[in-house]
């Protein structure tokens, strides 16, 4: 149940981040900061595992900092957000206390998606 809630929140924050990046003129840092601030202030008040959910949404806010060259479509961003949610949820003991931990997990999830995407894109291009 908890993991489903985490995934829903991760997707919601991913969608919000994608929308903010596409529809506003906010910089990537501003978008990520706002998403982090809202997650950190709101989620711990409403959920028993609120702090974990805030960590997940913060990591997702780093995912949405990806450029549109890397993640072009909404579904791509959401897939990476989902991977990131699961990595943070199941990787709570990873790099504990090290600054940049969430960013590292966000980058790992982005690369899990981007590397095969680029690889298969190149393969398709070669076949043509």
């Amino acid at each position: 149940m908890s993991v489903l809630l985490a995934m829903s929140l991760g997707l919601l924050w991913g969608f919000a981040g994608y929308t903010l990046r596409k529809r506003t003129k906010l910089s990537v840092v501003a978008v990520s900061s706002w998403l982090t601030l809202v997650a950190a202030l709101v989620l711990p008040r409403f959920f028993h595992e609120g702090y974990l959910f805030a960590l997940i949404c913060t990591a997702v806010s780093y995912v949405v900092m990806s450029s549109s060259n890397r993640l072009e479509k909404l579904w791509e961003t959401l897939v990476v957000c989902l991977i990131c949610t699961l990595l943070v949820y199941f990787g709570q003991d990873v790099l504990v206390g090290i600054g940049g931990r969430l960013g590292t997990l966000a980058a790992l999830s982005a690369l899990i998606f981007i590397v095969p995407k680029v690889h298969f894109g190149l393969l398709k291009a070669r076949r043509r």
């Binding site: 906010l26 910089s27 990537v28 840092v29 501003a30 990520s32 900061s33 706002w34 982090t36 601030l37 997650a39 950190a40 202030l41 805030a54 960590l55 913060t58 990591a59 780093y62 995912v63 949405v64 900092m65 990806s66 450029s67 060259n69 890397r70 993640l71 990476v80 990595l87 199941f90 990787g91 003991d93 990873v94 790099l95 504990v96 206390g97 090290i98 600054g99 940049g100 931990r101 969430l102 960013g103 590292t104 997990l105 966000a106 980058a107 790992l108 999830s109 982005a110 690369l111 981007i114």
Partner: protein, 167 residues
Amino acid sequence: MLCQHALILLPLFVATLELAIPFFSKTSGLIYLSLVTFIFIVAPKRCAIGDWRKILPSALISALGAVATFALANHLDLGPLVASAIVGLVGTFFLAEDDQLKIYLGAFVGMTSVARFPSLGLVVVAGLVGGVLWQVLNETWNGVGGRLGTIAAAAVLVVVLTLGGGL
């Protein structure tokens, strides 16, 4: 280019190993330290830094972000998430877009716990290292979300393993 990848891959390597092998962290300190030493022997010879004049401002901005976040998180008890968000937001009001990224990178460094960085001096050093790494790794993984955090984690790991108490 290989050198840049080696530098930025350090925290990803650590995270992947800890994810794959839960008890790895107990014996990991020595392996990480040898990896860091190897990278820092190779790095100065192989890594081409784009513009040396940009290193000092980059390091200072990053260190400022790190100290501000660390102070807000631990001395004002705001916690690392709120502290980093505040530093990032303040940065967006006063700095150009490229400098916003540097201060946000510093903010990630400042999210390190007091258990890892018992003194503010270590935070400053990690912030400075983060700023230098930003210049060295400027073109690496461009546009990949989480890149800033990965660079920050690399800086923190380097300082924790060399000057701090280890992992």
